[in-house]
């Protein structure tokens, strides 16, 4: 592993974010917007609920929101860093460098970590200020939670990049919206038990469902959800391996079909 290569990929994206108000806006605006929207809805719901209700809506929903935003950031920053090269027609210059695919992935993962944590610290701080949210309430569960959130984001990011390489910028929408396809089934804002049986069975295969179910267990019962952590980790290892295999296959297909040079023309 050549760390200069990894740093080159990382630095390029950091320069772009630091310079561009638009990119900064993208990092913080939607998270702020959602925090306001959901924060006030949940305060209203709490006021409607009986005074002796055991569930703290604000706490549960906003913690879910915070971590879902982290997942979106982890996935999007990973894929969009690659899209930057497509947009600036730099793909050919980049693929002609001696950067190995493992260094490319490490560079994107580093960007994803930095952007993810930046957004999380900002939005977490804002949630503490506005709603007195205790973001440390998850305790040690935060460690496997963070790790799994990022790894699943990267697995989806690898699939999105693979599809972009194969089918060109027509698929760039995936880089932005792939996590949204999983939102309804990830039990972020409600427990998985509200689903019909067949959806529950399908949702079982989503690491995010286990993570958010586990999150609720920690917050409402103060129990470490070992089974959910193990399922999420196992599924993530599988999905990351599949995402990696798919991405490497698409790179081979792109090299075979001359798709790298074609990305300059699309």
């Amino acid at each position: 592993m050549n760390f200069l290569h990894v740093y080159g990929i990382f630095l390029r994206n950091i320069i772009l974010i630091r310079r561009s108000i638009g990119r900064m806006f993208g990092l913080f605006f939607f998270a702020t917007f959602e925090l306001f929207l959901w924060g006030f809805i949940t305060i209203w719901l709490r006021d409607l609920a009986p005074k002796d209700a055991r569930i703290d809506f604000v706490f549960l929903l906003l913690t879910g929101l915070l971590f879902w935003d982290l997942f979106i950031r982890a996935q999007q920053s990973f894929s969009i860093s690659f899209l930057e090269d497509v947009w600036s027609r730099n793909i050919m210059n980049f693929f002609a460098t001696p950067v190995a695919m493992k260094e490319f992935i490490a560079g994107l993962a580093l960007i994803s970590l930095v952007q993810g944590f930046l957004t999380f610290i900002y939005i977490g701080g804002l949630a503490v200020l506005l709603y007195a949210l205790d973001i440390w309430a998850l305790g040690f569960y935060m460690i496997p939670f963070f790790m799994n959130i990022f790894v699943f984001g990267w697995a989806l990011g690898l699939i999105a990049i693979g599809l972009l390489l194969r089918f060109g910028p027509a698929f760039e929408i995936l880089a932005f919206f792939i996590p949204m396809m999983f939102l309804p089934f990830s039990a972020v804002y409600y427990p998985v038990s509200v689903f019909p049986e067949f959806i529950q069975q399908a949702a079982f295969f989503l690491p995010t469902m286990h993570l958010f179910e586990g999150m609720r267990q920690v917050l409402t019962q103060e129990v470490f959800p070992l089974s959910d952590v193990l399922w999420a980790t196992g599924l993530n290892i599988l999905y990351f391996a599949l995402g990696l295999a798919f991405f490497l296959w698409m790179v081979r297909v792109a090299r075979k079909k001359g798709l790298i040079a074609r990305l300059l023309q699309d």
Binding site: N2, L4, H5, Y7, G8, I9, L11, R12, I15, L16, R19, S20, E84, D85, S88, R89, N90, M92, N93, F94, F95, A96, T97, P98, V99, A100, R252, R255, K256, K257, G258, I260, A261, L264
Partner: protein, 245 residues
């Protein structure tokens, strides 16, 4: 002079279309080789295969005595390229672009390399301007500066002076030549400017319909085709009908 690049039976097909058809050639250390041919002859496809952007359907590429497919990263460390058709990111400054590509090529002294190439290619005054705001000539100088970041032993140039005015083109040609001489590097140079090729190249490979149809010094090619200059040779070769498949 030892052989630096060895291409054997290189073929690239897309379905029924053959873009490069079993070509074989070599380039020696310090040699400047022109790769000429009409549009669609297979020059860019060949260059893309040498850069590992494209996988050959058949054949082998050996660079520095090593197989490109098996030693991709190691070989690309010592190769670079410049093309008029792929500029550097517009949203970065010339200094940032060079700094980042120096890192991507694993150059240890990446800051110094970026600074000194900005000076050498007369780009220091645009150091902090956005690359997109530079003229075509200035952007091409930047692309060429990028091509020298890793002091390449093999430089692939795909029409590097296309769309440049004659004075800038001459200046850049000289710069390329002297910088590669310092390094005893090999250049594979494609261009449609026959005077440029005649002035720069020790040897010229002509391609047509994906095949090599001539491979000799510019002087010998002119004799063989009984032409006054390479342009006539080019027109004679380009005018040959496509072989029936």
């Amino acid at each position: 002079m030892s052989t630096l690049l060895k291409v054997e039976n290189l073929t690239k097909t897309y379905g029924q279309t053959t873009a490069v058809d079993g070509i074989s050639f070599e380039a020696k250390e310090g040699e400047v080789v022109g790769l000429l041919g009409p549009n669609g002859a297979g020059k860019s496809t060949t260059i893309h295969m040498l850069l590992s952007l494209l996988e050959p359907t058949e054949g082998s590429i050996e660079i520095f005595g090593k197989d490109l497919k098996a030693h991709r990263e190691e070989i690309l460390q010592h190769i670079n390229f410049a093309t008029a058709y792929s500029m550097l990111p517009h949203n970065l400054t010339p200094y940032e672009n060079l700094k980042i590509f120096a890192l991507l090529y694993g150059v240890q002294q990446w800051r110094t390399a970026a600074e000194s190439l900005l000076e050498e290619f007369n780009l220091a005054e645009f150091r902090n301007a956005r690359t997109g705001s530079l003229s075509t000539g200035e952007q091409m100088r930047l692309v060429l500066a990028k091509a020298f970041l890793n002091s390449p032993k093999l430089l692939l140039l795909d029409e590097p002076t296309a769309s440049l005015d004659p004075a800038v083109a001459r200046d850049l040609r000289q710069k390329i030549y002297y910088k590669m001489q310092e390094n005893n590097g090999t250049i594979l140079w494609t261009s449609h400017n026959m005077r440029e090729i005649e002035a720069m190249c020790d040897r010229v490979i002509f391609m047509a319909h994906g095949k090599i149809v001539a491979d000799d010094t510019p002087e010998n090619l002119k004799k063989t085709f009984q032409s006054g200059d390479l342009e006539d040779v080019f027109i004679a070769i380009a005018g040959q009908p496509s072989p029936k498949i």
